[in-house]
């Protein structure tokens, strides 16, 4: 008996990395995920660049250049928040989480798998966006290391807060089928008020005020600070990129998301008692 009980279990990290591989594999096999999470910002960037190609964005900035940071921010939010909120809701509804809970897999491994999935898909998506923007749409890609340093922390803070919020939000849809219908409008609304699809400064003041409470606005503004030319911040409503405020708001969402996710996450369906 004791021989069985003392056998060492596989390490949570090793199992977590194995889950990452599985998650990524599954992500790229699901057409719906692929189109509405992965290619969505890329498709929109192409459309917007074409539609607004004649519009003057002041400071010699093209439509493609102006919308690239917004789409990058939006992509981060999709691959973290939307992707996790929908898939975890479905996995709970389909009893995958229950099945996993019945195995010796550590809960940590499950979340390592999800984090790995978000990182992989968001990095790939960003790379693809950047390549298309730079090579096909003629967007100037920054070369200064300081800008990329900014990019790095904004990217990490954005994916991290989006992920924990997605995990927390996954308990909201009542069923797996409803997941897309519940999560997508929330994301869409945030995209509209956060200046992803419109020039942020052209939005009504009240809308901008509302958006300031949510992470996507700060993520988009941070990305604009990286990808728009120096001096362009005079066009921002506050006349600056407000990176400090952005970092604080995103950090607050990260902490709140972490606490809420830990409290509300469940392995079984609500009706399972």
């Amino acid at each position: 008996m004791s021989a069985v009980a003392t056998t060492t279990l596989p390490s949570p990290l090793k199992v977590g990395l194995s889950r990452t591989r599985l998650e990524v594999k599954q992500f790229f096999r699901e057409r719906e995920q692929l189109i509405f999470t992965f290619f969505f910002p890329i498709i929109f960037l192409a459309i917007f660049s074409a539609v607004f190609s004649g519009t003057d964005f002041s400071g010699g900035v093209t439509a493609a250049t102006y919308f690239t940071p917004g789409m990058i921010a939006s992509g981060i939010f999709l691959t973290s928040f939307q992707s996790l909120a929908i898939t975890i809701a479905m996995e709970r509804d389909e009893d995958l989480l229950k099945r996993l809970r019945g195995t010796p897999m550590s809960p940590q491994s499950y979340f390592i798998g999800k984090i790995g999935l978000v990182l992989t898909t968001s990095i790939l998506q960003f790379g693809l966006l950047l390549a298309i923007a730079g090579l096909l749409l003629g967007v100037d890609i920054p070369t200064e290391p300081s800008k990329w340093l900014h990019f790095l922390w904004i990217f990490v803070l954005g994916t991290a807060s989006g992920s924990v919020l997605g995990i927390a939000f996954s308990v909201v849809p009542k069923s797996g089928k409803a997941a897309s219908a519940v999560v997508t409008p929330v994301v869409l609304l945030l995209q509209f008020i956060s200046g992803v699809y419109f020039v942020y400064s052209s939005l009504p003041a009240w809308m901008r005020t509302v958006s300031e409470f949510f992470p996507l606005k700060w993520l988009a503004q941070g990305m604009r600070s990286v990808f728009l030319p120096d001096g362009y911040e005079v066009n921002e409503p506050g006349g600056s990129w407000q990176l400090g405020t952005g970092a604080i708001v995103l950090s607050i969402w990260l902490v709140v998301g972490l606490v809420v996710a830990q409290r509300v996450f469940r392995w079984t369906r609500r009706d399972a008692g």
Binding site: M1, L9, Q26, R29, D95, L96, G102, M105, A272
Partner: protein
């Protein structure tokens, strides 16, 4: 050291005393006692809503008992850790997850959760999915999907396997294959707790059978002795000149010999029947079987 308690205090794989589970609107389990010996196949029978699934899910550690004493492999499921889970195999009722992954991918991946898993290829072969190794779960038939569930349930080489209505929706041939698979596991020494709606399945597979009704264990016994000996009294029926006749007797052979002598050979419409497990089951849960129907035709699902 929790481990030292394992198997020392008891030789039972499962020991339950006075289990109670209440939900806001009803009492699902109302004082169930249950012992499952190591190495046996135990079938838990009972109508929907009788408390089967609740009981099993408490044993699996998914739900908490309100009252009573529960030990599974020497451990209270409410405190079961990863080491304890590594010794269990769970095949739950529903399964429609992981649609885009193939059979081989899933079985190999799940093997990585356990300290001493079985060989994934052997497990895939054992459940008869060798030809479906590369097939995505989405494209499997209901029976194949269920066999994949069993593969994922046994990949960790469990001491105790839970099978919750494993063959619902199977065609007869798939069920026979499935039974052979379970018999192999039993031969290898796996303790199995099976819940099922199919009485013939319980009769075929189980060493012992427990019947739950209204949250209580009505009776436990071998499939042969369930309901008491008297319940097994044979019924001999034949067509007499006055119409169908039936007598209940403990000596059906003598009765048939008497009839043969009386009729001088062939007895019209002669039939000797013993109540099936299904008849006894229906009696135990308080729903008398329809006496007129030949039981051989109704040996299917009980709902």
């Amino acid at each position: 050291m929790d481990e030292r308690l394992d198997g020392m205090t008891t030789d039972e794989a499962v020991r339950v005393r006075g289990l109670v589970k209440r939900y806001p609107d009803k009492v699902a389990v109302n004082g169930v006692d249950l012992d499952i010996h190591r190495g046996e196949v135990f079938a838990l029978l009972g109508p929907n809503g009788a408390g089967k699934t609740t009981t099993v899910e408490i044993l699996e550690g998914y739900r908490r008992a309100d009252l009573g004493e529960v030990t599974v492999l020497g451990v209270d499921p409410a405190r079961g850790d990863r080491h304890w889970r590594a010794r269990l195999g769970i095949v739950s009722q529903t399964s429609r997850d992981e649609a885009e992954l193939s059979v081989a991918e899933l079985v190999n991946h799940f093997a990585g959760y356990y300290p001493a898993p079985r060989d994934p290829d052997e497990v895939i072969a054992a459940v008869g999915l060798d030809e479906k190794r590369r097939t995505r779960t989405r494209k499997l038939s209901g029976g194949q999907r269920r066999r994949l569930d069993v593969a994922l349930g046994v990949i960790g080489n469990p001491e105790l396997l839970f099978l919750d209505e494993p063959t619902t929706g199977f065609d007869p041939e798939a069920r026979r294959q499935f039974w052979a698979l379970i018999e192999n596991l039993r031969t290898e020494g796996t303790t199995i707790l099976l819940t099922t709606h199919y009485l013939d399945e319980a009769e075929h597979l189980a060493d012992r059978v427990g019947v739950i009704a209204d949250g209580q264990m009505v009776e436990v016994g071998t499939p042969e002795t369930l309901g008491g000996r008297g319940a097994r009294t044979a019924r001999v029926s034949w067509l007499s000149p006055d119409g169908m006749r039936e007598v209940r007797t403990d000596e059906p052979t003598a009765e048939v010999a008497r009839l043969m002598a009386q009729y001088g050979g062939e007895v019209p419409e002669l039939e000797v029947r013993r109540p099936s497990l299904e008849d006894i089951y229906l009696e135990l849960i308080g729903r008398p079987a329809v006496a007129a129907e030949p039981t051989s035709l109704t040996a299917g699902a009980v709902r």
